[in-house]
């Protein structure tokens, strides 16, 4: 993701109306803005709010298992491997068991 793009996102975030509970909502809702956020957002938010993602604190292995469950049991379409890796990298870094972005994203 380009730096110019991130700057645009940051500008949009600054303009966005504050959501309930002081979280700023931008193009990717309440998700932490970082590499992989776009793919993660559009893969997950097709069916459910990104707020459900942002509440979790799971290991990479658990996220991987959760994606399998979404595909096998919850009607999510298959994800190609490159996207899956990008999503898992993003989730494992920002939404792991140490919960760096819970309850809201840090330093967005």
């Amino acid at each position: 993701m380009s730096k110019a793009y991130l700057t645009t996102v940051a500008a949009l975030l600054a303009l966005a109306a504050p959501a309930a509970h002081g979280q700023e909502e931008g193009e990717f809702g309440v998700l932490k803005i970082a590499a992989g956020v776009e793919t993660t957002y559009f893969t997950c938010a097709g069916c459910h709010s990104e707020r459900l993602v942002a509440q979790q604190g799971l290991s990479r292995e658990d996220w991987d298992e959760l994606l399998d469950w979404m595909i096998e049991e919850q009607g999510m379409g298959a994800i190609d491997e490159a996207d899956r890796t990008e999503i898992l990298d993003y989730l494992a870094e920002h939404y792991n068991e140490d919960r760096p972005n819970f309850p809201g994203p840090a330093n967005n």
Partner: protein, 431 residues
């Protein structure tokens, strides 16, 4: 109203599509022939309650007009002060200090949706089918239920099985509820038992299976978002209701209007919302969120973070003993004395005692405790506290139930983050 695939349905879209139907669904409102006012007062009480004051010019208020006091696209329309955890599916809890009422007002009852709520919730055309292992399968309207069975009103406690999940470490997946996914509203309806008896429960029935009109998040019409049930013995108890009113008014759309089950003291997911079907089965129901590890806990104490085999999980039945401090608010200031109060409950049991501590659990003081309004209701309690000097205090509350179970200090960790019934703690700044 068409749902687009990115956003939850909004209030304005709902009203734009069909103002008369929306008025009726949301407020129970029917206008006069001139499309103004409230015919025979229908819906006026609801709208008055929602705006919080009388509406002097109500006779000229146009049909389908959403009061500006709430004309936003707020997904928590008709709710007051709830914390939004998730907007699709909608999940919102109530801060503890807003649960102070003895009976929870409709606008403060938490919301836990699993799918997308139905759009058409007209009570006049809604039907409930009772089938499976019954002598006489039946399809009943809400008017039929009112006419054929005794209508009862009861204060009934509903708590989400995952209430308290946010305190789990390692974290457990799911909505990160703190303490406010619990409520005790006044529900009016008919007893599930009476309806099942009228249908004739056949020998060999083991479990109920509940179906609602909400749809799966994926949009797949073949998938149910959730379909749970209870053992037939629980279904035949006298405090399980098929409810069509909440606090003497319509059920809030997000709380299951126009018809839902209320199974007090068991995980809220047993209390199917937007109820359309109850099927009696000769096996434990295996609908979505009955199987795997959903609403299940290990059959033994486990170490935090332990990987537990799926066959070692058991279905949660009654919710455990618990208490909540609803006044003062966490972090409030106080003088040298303070009244502390709240609620306590334990599924299928009563509360025998509530004790409070101001010294981090070293000593305890017995609170004054009320009897439940009826079976299935929470119990209200209060205590007068005095503090020896200014400073930081914590008030802890600890309930003990009729089975001798007492709230623990630490979480009995389980992989899916259910049944956190640890003592409730609030901070008080005494000056």
């Amino acid at each position: 109203m068409a749902l687009d695939d990115k956003h939850p349905p909004t209030v304005s879209a709902f009203f734009a599509a069909d103002p008369a139907a929306a008025d009726k669904a949301v407020f129970g409102r029917v206008a006069h022939a001139d499309r103004r006012g409230f015919l025979r007062g229908a819906g006026l009480a609801t709208m008055t309650a929602m705006v919080g004051m009388t509406i002097p010019f109500n006779r000229t208020m146009p049909q389908g007009l959403v009061p500006m006091a709430m004309a936003s696209d707020d997904v928590l329309f008709g709710k007051d002060g709830l914390t939004l955890l998730n907007d699709r599916p909608l999940n919102a809890e109530t801060p503890a200090h807003l649960l102070d009422d003895a009976i929870t007002p409709t606008e403060r009852h938490f919301v836990r949706n699993n799918g997308i709520p139905p759009e058409d919730v007209d009570p006049a055309t809604w039907t409930l089918t009772v089938d499976g292992l019954v002598d006489t399968p039946m399809t009943l309207s809400i008017a039929d239920l009112r006419e054929r069975f005794e209508v009862v009103s009861m204060a009934l406690l509903i708590e989400c099985g995952g209430n308290g999940r946010s305190a789990f470490d390692p974290p457990a997946r799911g909505n990160q509820w703190t303490v406010g996914a619990v409520a005790c509203a006044e529900w009016t309806g008919v007893r599930l038992r009476d309806v099942l008896e009228a249908a004739g429960v056949q020998d060999g029935v083991v479990y109920t299976a509940h179906v609602g009109a909400d749809t799966h998040l994926s949009g797949d019409p073949e998938k149910l978002p959730i379909s749970r049930g209870v053992p037939i013995a629980k279904a035949m108890t006298e405090d399980v209701l098929i409810a069509f009113e909440m606090n003497d008014g319509p059920i809030h759309p997000m709380n299951g209007a126009p018809l839902r089950l209320v199974v007090p003291g068991w995980p809220g997911s047993c209390s199917q919302k937007w109820l359309t079907r109850i099927t009696l089965r000769d096996v434990v129901h295996d609908g979505p969120k009955m199987t795997g590890t959903s609403y299940r806990v290990p059959n033994r104490p486990v170490e935090p973070g332990e990987d537990v085999a799926e066959e070692d999980f058991e279905i949660i039945e009654r919710m455990p003993v618990k208490s909540l401090i609803t006044n003062p608010e966490n972090g409030a200031g106080a003088g040298q004395s303070a009244t502390v109060r709240g609620h306590a409950w334990s599924g299928d049991r009563t509360i025998e005692a509530v004790d409070v501590s101001i010294d981090f659990g070293a000593t305890w003081q017995r609170a004054e405790l009320d009897a439940p309004a009826n079976s299935g209701a929470w119990q209200n309690w209060r205590a007068e506290l005095s503090f020896p000097e200014a400073g930081y205090y914590e008030v802890w509350s600890r309930a003990t139930d009729s089975g001798g179970a007492m709230q623990p200090f630490a979480i009995d960790w389980n992989p899916k983050g259910y049944l956190n019934n640890t003592m409730h703690r609030i901070a008080l700044r005494v000056s």
